[in-house]
């Protein structure tokens, strides 16, 4: 079974600075997807960024980028130019490549990292 580990329960950053959130995972699969979700105080889960394991290029979405190290099974999230609205809990998640016999891929979540942004 796959496991996802976020070793930083809490992180903080000054507004306009850069912060990196860590995530490692354990799997024996070669094809899979990785995600970062954001959960603000409203508790609405919002997809931030995703990475396909077969792609070597790191995904980027505006101020959010990832450092995907497949051999090390590491998937960190970098937030540049941090804004007050970035304050939230961030979850790393793993999804297996779809089994051809099913139409569903299970998501496994890490325990989350609470990010505080100081003005």
């Amino acid at each position: 079974a796959q496991t996802v580990t976020q070793s930083q329960p809490e992180m903080s950053v000054q507004e306009a600075e850069t912060v990196t959130l860590s995530c490692t995972y354990d799997t024996s699969e070669s094809d899979y997807y990785l995600f970062w979700y954001k959960q603000p105080p409203s508790r609405q889960m919002i997809l931030v960024i995703r990475q396909e394991a077969y792609k070597q290029q790191n995904a980027t979405e505006n101020r959010f980028s990832v450092n995907f190290q497949k051999a090390a099974k590491s998937f960190s999230l970098k937030i540049s130019d941090s804004q007050l609205g970035d304050a939230a809990m961030y979850f790393c998640a793993y999804r297996s490549e779809i089994d051809g016999g099913t139409s569903y891929g299970k998501l496994t979540f890490g325990q989350g990292t609470i990010l505080t942004v100081h003005p």
Binding site: R43, I98, S103
Partner: protein, 118 residues
């Protein structure tokens, strides 16, 4: 565009009482549907998923059950609530994976229901 609704938003129930949480999706057909529980504001645990009407798979044996009476409706139920059932319940949907078309690349979450069992 697709939207997902959950109700109620909050619920306080006594131990031993029944439970029914509802989730509906608009703007898509034949979605994969999921129920998650988030305890103490931490990680999400998948409880149930469904790939079609009447098709329910359970990830964790427990006091809860799920049903999918309509294509875009997913219900989480319990006959008798336990204290340990307290938590934040999230419903999610995804586009099902199809041969040649891919899909199920990401899950979209509803606003959640906060359940307190006293």
């Amino acid at each position: 565009s697709q939207t997902i609704h959950q109700w109620p938003a909050t619920l306080v129930q006594p131990v031993g009482s029944p439970l029914s949480l509802e989730c509906t999706v608009e703007g898509t057909s034949n979605p994969n549907l999921y129920w998650y529980r988030q305890a103490a504001g931490r990680g999400l645990q998948l409880l149930f998923y469904s790939v079609g009407i009447g098709q329910i798979s359970s990830e964790v044996p427990q006091n809860l059950s799920a049903s999918r009476p309509q294509d875009r409706q997913f219900i989480l139920s319990s006959k008798k609530l336990l204290l340990s059932d307290s938590g934040f319940y999230l419903c999610a949907w995804s586009v099902p994976w199809l041969v040649g078309a891919g899909g199920d690349n990401e899950q979209f979450f509803g606003p959640g229901t906060r359940l307190t069992v006293l």
